[in-house]
Symmetry: C2
Subunit: 343 residues, 2 copies
DNA sequence: CTGAAAGCGCTTACAG
DNA sequence: CTGAAAGCGCTTACAG
């Protein structure tokens, strides 16, 4: 392998000192004013050699190196999770491009039980200036520890816990609004199929939905597909006398919709369905559910912007971003919520 | 921000020198043998403080960077291109994880006319040990220049040009094999709808298909949907008297299939269809085309492995990987290729 | 067995 | 205007 090009080498080629090269690269306008001729000579050599300052050395010497880490608790790219991560990464990528930062994906973090550990013996988090944390569920202790270490990070999604910067989605309000529509349509009994409530995003949805429904005395039975079968969910719908089935996860919603069809139960004429999320690619939206639509691309971009501000300070003209921010979700009418009818 | 915990600090707490701490952390068994008692005392302090060695400093002191760059010519994550990049990134990610390297996505490269330039003024390519290049079409000059600079890189996909390391897919053989099936089914006239032939992958498919068909005197008319409308393609099929429509891109194939259905032309009873690719997610495979299936996840992983070997040398026990390698594609029978019938 | 010291490639006061 | 030098937190010969 060719020996690494260093500032020292650039300096020799340009006939200046290593300090001058560094100054040309990072020179604040006010500090040392290098004559245009010298400056140009150095820049020419740099271009010829495609030299780039060693990020590790820069960092050690106390510089930000425009490297933002991305830590995903699960594999980021497999298709099973791509619905979750892809839109977030889309937003992050476009914001990163605009801000001129590169993205460091921490793929080397060991995966234990299908999840990555942030803080492990060989954690390389500090190679990046700061880090974006993505995942449905995060370990609160680990987050707290990271926060106390002073390492700058922003989580994508609301998190419980003190002093953590995040940008999340206002699932609670949107779920409550959907509950209102259910109430207005005259439904009195509902079944709610949700994911693990270990995730803040799932708790927020459950809270918003159930609080609102309960306040109007709508009865809600809940279940997790992790624990019970599709069959059992349908049985629950029948035994509870529910006229509306609310489902958190859009993929599970499609599974349930197919099962209902197979059983000859028509949606929404015999049973209404409301979904608290949607598939990430419009063309994959098989059924036009009455649902909430989360701005996940915007979420990724907003998280990136907040981290960038945390690292580089507030832009002069701008106001500072809030350290914790909830983005509103849209409601999609869809065609699966009908007036309640006696069953 | 809390002051960073350093080896110096650990050393003070454990009552040893900084060197000893370092030795405890990285000590090769054979070099310095530290007594178990000292060792344990140091480890205890490290555990209490959750100390992690600064990777930047480690790197500077001569430890491997373990950073592999990913350069995509277009945005990597938007859903329009996700079918293309996602499976590749899946393979890259899992290989990276296994090899213990992190991934540096060059999102800061300026996008000009929807494509990124590799070599620009502030190229940060050298942040990474080496780089994987992804994209349907690449600028041959740019590639050559990069190659001459001595920077280690591997392209995902076969490339024309000297001395370039790549892992590609054997589209040519697979397309020829599909052509053989078309011939065996008795077809004498075909229409081929392809993408821009600027890409090696498209040229390989066209070559394999057309050479084989021509060798059996099967007539082939070609068209690009970029240039002509769906309507015009259907007209071409009719005017050419084709009994089989071959399509390179699976998404375009679906569009054409829908147009045929709308026109009342049944596939395959009235017109056979063969596709030289497939959607990346099985569940998105709307129609069971007779097609070729490219191992794109394996492709990503193989490219990563080749780059890693380029950077770190050949593993002792192993044989070296070839610098240029074509992976075989599978043929899927599907249900859209039938015996030719007079029209 | 253990520590002082050089050096990795940078940035940034500080002197000329 | 320009460069010598200290220092960032490590690893690793090299001396005790």
């Amino acid at each position: 392998m060719a020996p690494r090009v260093t500032q020292q080498r650039i300096a020799e080629l340009a006939g200046v000192s290593q300090t001058t090269v560094s100054l040309v690269l990072n020179g604040k306008e006010d500090s040392a004013r290098i004559p245009e001729a010298t400056r140009q000579r150095v820049l020419d050599v740099i271009n010829e050699t495609t030299y780039v300052a060693d990020p590790a050395a820069r960092r050690l010497a106390g510089q930000a190196n425009n490297l933002v880490g991305i830590f995903t608790y699960e594999h980021a790219f497999p298709s099973e999770t791509s619905d979750f991560y892809t839109p977030l990464l889309t937003g992050i990528e476009s914001a990163a491009e605009q801000l001129g930062v590169d993205l460091l994906m921490f793929t080397s973090a060991p995966v234990v039980d299908g999840r990555r550990k942030i803080l492990h013996e060989r954690s390389r988090l500090r190679l990046a200036d700061g880090c974006l944390l993505l995942g449905r569920e995060m370990d609160a202790d680990e987050l707290q520890q990271l926060s106390e270490s002073g390492y700058p990070f922003v989580t994508v999604g609301r998190r419980d816990g003190e002093n953590i910067r995040w940008v999340g989605l206002d699932y609670k309000s949107a779920s409550a609004d959907l509950a209102s529509r259910i109430i207005e349509a005259g439904h009195r009994r509902a079944v709610y199929v949700h994911l693990s409530l270990n995730a803040e995003s799932s708790r927020d949805r459950a809270d918003g939905l159930i609080e609102r429904l309960s306040s109007s005395d709508v009865a809600v039975e809940t279940a997790q597909l992790k624990d019970v079968s599709v069959e059992q969910v349908l049985d629950l719908v029948v035994s509870a006398g529910a006229t509306v089935l609310v489902v958190e996860d859009p993929t599970e919603a499609e599974t349930l919709h197919a099962a209902l069809r197979a059983k000859g139960i028509a949606v929404p004429s015999q049973l209404s369905m409301v979904v608290l999320g949607e598939r990430s690619r419009p063309q994959d939206q098989a059924i036009d559910f009455t649902r909430l639509s989360a701005p996940r691309i915007a979420l990724g971009a907003a998280a990136m912007a907040l981290l960038h501000e945390t690292l580089n300070g507030v832009d002069e003209a701008e106001e500072g971003l809030p350290e914790q921010q909830l983005l509103p979700c849209a409601l999609i009418d869809g065609s699966t919520l009908a007036q309640a009818t006696a069953r």
